[in-house]
C-alpha cells in the first residue's frame, strides 16, 4: 500500500518495490509542469528536454554533454526561454532551424536590436 511521499516500482520479475520519503516533485513533471534536474549530465537533460518540447537539440561539442547541471525547467516556458536558461548555464549559444537546435560552446557577440522598442532575444547571451 503506497502512502503519501512514497514511490512504487514494479520490476521485470514482477516484484513490487516501495520507496518512502522521495522528493515527489521530481517524479511528477506531468502534474506540476516542472522538469527538475539535480546534478544531471547535460546529455541526459537534453534528452529529457527533447522529449518534453518535441525538438531535437544537438551538442556540437561532446565535452558539453559531460557537464552536470542543476536546474528546474517549467513546461510553460517557450522553447526559446528554455534554451536561454540552458545555454547560459552551459556558457554556450544556440542556433535553430525548425525542430533542430544546435548548441555550441562559447557566447556570441551581442547583436544590436533593429528597433529600440523591439524585444530581442540574444541567443545564448
Amino acid at each position: 500500500m503506497l502512502g503519501a511521499g512514497m514511490l512504487g516500482v514494479i520490476s521485470d520479475s514482477g516484484d513490487v518495490l516501495a520507496m518512502p520519503h522521495i522528493a515527489v516533485d521530481d517524479y511528477n513533471p506531468l502534474v506540476t509542469g516542472q522538469l527538475v534536474f539535480r546534478s544531471m549530465l547535460a546529455a541526459d537533460v537534453i534528452a529529457d528536454l527533447n522529449r518534453a518540447y518535441g525538438v531535437e537539440i544537438q551538442l556540437t561539442d561532446t565535452s558539453l554533454s559531460t557537464h552536470k547541471l542543476t536546474m528546474t525547467v517549467s513546461t510553460k516556458w517557450s522553447v526559446e526561454e528554455m534554451l536561454t536558461v540552458v545555454t547560459k548555464t552551459l556558457n554556450a549559444h544556440y542556433t535553430r532551424a525548425g525542430r533542430v537546435i544546435t548548441i555550441s560552446p562559447g557566447l556570441v557577440a551581442p547583436r544590436i536590436p533593429d528597433h529600440p522598442f523591439t524585444s530581442e532575444n540574444q541567443h545564448g547571451r
Binding site: S11, Y27, T89, S119
Partner: protein
Amino acid sequence: MAGRSVVRTILRLSVAATLCVGFVQTAVAQHVAVVEPPRDTREPTVVSVDVNAAMLGSVIHTIARQAGLVPAYDETVLPIERRVTLHLKNVSAEAAFEAALQGTGLVAQVQATGAVTIMRGTVARKLAGDLAGRVTASKTTRGLRGVNVVIDDSLKSVRTDDDGRYHFSGIAAGAHRVTVRYVGFTRKSQVATVVDDQTTIVDFVLESSVNMLDQVVVTATGPQRYRELGHVVEVINADSLVRVSPIMNMADLLTARIPGLQVITSGGTVGGDIALRLRGQTTSRLDPQPIVIVDGVRYKSNNLIQDNSGAVVEDTRPAFAESRSPLNDLNVNDIETVEVVKGPSATTLYGPDAANGVIVVTTKRGKVGKPEWQVYVHPSIHSAVPTDRTSGLTVYQAWGHDPTTLALFEGNCTLAYQGRQRCILDSVTVEPQQVEEAGVVALSSSRPQGVLVVVYAVELPDYNTSCLVVTTRRTES
C-alpha cells in the same frame, strides 16, 4: 554504483508501470524547494543571509528561494562545496548573489522566466537591460505623447514620444515598479522584470479621469473658472487679513498687496482720500483711477464738498478726479474679499469706464453656524487726553489713566496702540445717562443677509472727545 543501477532500473520500469515518470540522477539529492518560476508580477524583493562557512550551493539555493527564483547552474563550473560566510540583511537578490559568488569568477543573471543562471563572468559588468513600452488611451487606443514614466526605485523618468512610446536604457536587472502619470488620466503602476541584455516591454493603457475642481472667481458676468479668465485677477482675502493686521481702512488693505497697484495718499490725514493707479498713470486728462464695484453695483463717491462757509457745493477742483476715492467710505470689517482686475481687458466685463481696471469688493454674507459677534471701536480725539481726573472720571479711565495715581499705565489706548491691536477699548462703557448727556447719535440698521450693524456715535463736547462704537453681529442666514 549499486545505487545508480537501481535508479536506472527504476527509471525503465516506472514508465511501463505507469506509476510515475522521473528524472533522477541520485536518490539522495540535496533537498531543493520547488518554486513555480514567477513571471513579470514579482515585487522587488530583498533577502537576508546569515551563514558561516556554508556550502556555496546551499547558499545559492537559499538566496534564490527567498527571492522567489529558481537557480540554474553547471556544477562543473560552480564550486558548490566552496565554503562561504555571509552576513547580509535586506539586500537585493542581485547583491546577495554577487556577494556569494565573489572570487569564483561567476555571475548570476535573472531571466524573465524567474530562473537565475549562474555563469562565467567573462565580462565584469553590471547586469542591466532595457525597458520600453507604449502608453495608450483606453478609449482611442492611440499613443499618448508627453506621459511621465518613472521607475520608482531609481527615480529615473522619461516622457513618451509622439506615438506614446518610451524607452529606458541600462536599467539594473531585476524587478522594478514602473509608474506612469498624465494629466486627465488615472495613474498606473506595473512591476517589470528587467532581464540582463534584453529589452523588457511594458505597455500601459490609461483610463481618462477628470476630477480636478477649478478655482472660481466672481466677475461681472458671474462666477467663472479661474483658468477661463482672459485677464489678470488678484484677490485679497480681507476677512482673514483684518483679523491679523492693523488694517483700519481700504488704503491699508490695498497698500503693497497687489502688484502694480499704487495707493497714493493725498494728505497726511488718517482716513483721508486716496488715489489709486493700476499699472501707472495711463491718461493725462481723463480719470486715471480704477472703478469700484461693491457686490455687483458700481460704487462712487459723490462730488459734493463743503466750502469754507460750510455750504455743500459741487467739487469743481481740477484735481478732483485724482484726489477723491470712495474706497475709504467702506468699512474693511464688512469686506470678505477684494478682487482687482487690471488693465484694459476689464472693459470687456465692466465697460469703457473700467479702462484703468476694476476693484471688485464683495461684502460678508451670513453663514450657517453659530452666531458670531465682532466688536470694534473707532475712537478719535480732538484735544489732548485729559490729565485731570476731576474733569471727568469716566473719560479719564476710558483713555487708559489710572485715577488713583494720575499716571498713564502701559497699554493705554492711544491711536498708536490701537493700530498695533494692543488695545481693545472694552473699558469704554457708555451708560445711557452719559449717552443722553453727550447727545449721542445712535444708528441701528439690519441688513437682509443676516448681518446686524449697530453704530453708536458718542459726542462728548465737554472734553472735545468723540468715540464711535460699531458692533457687528453675524447670525445665521
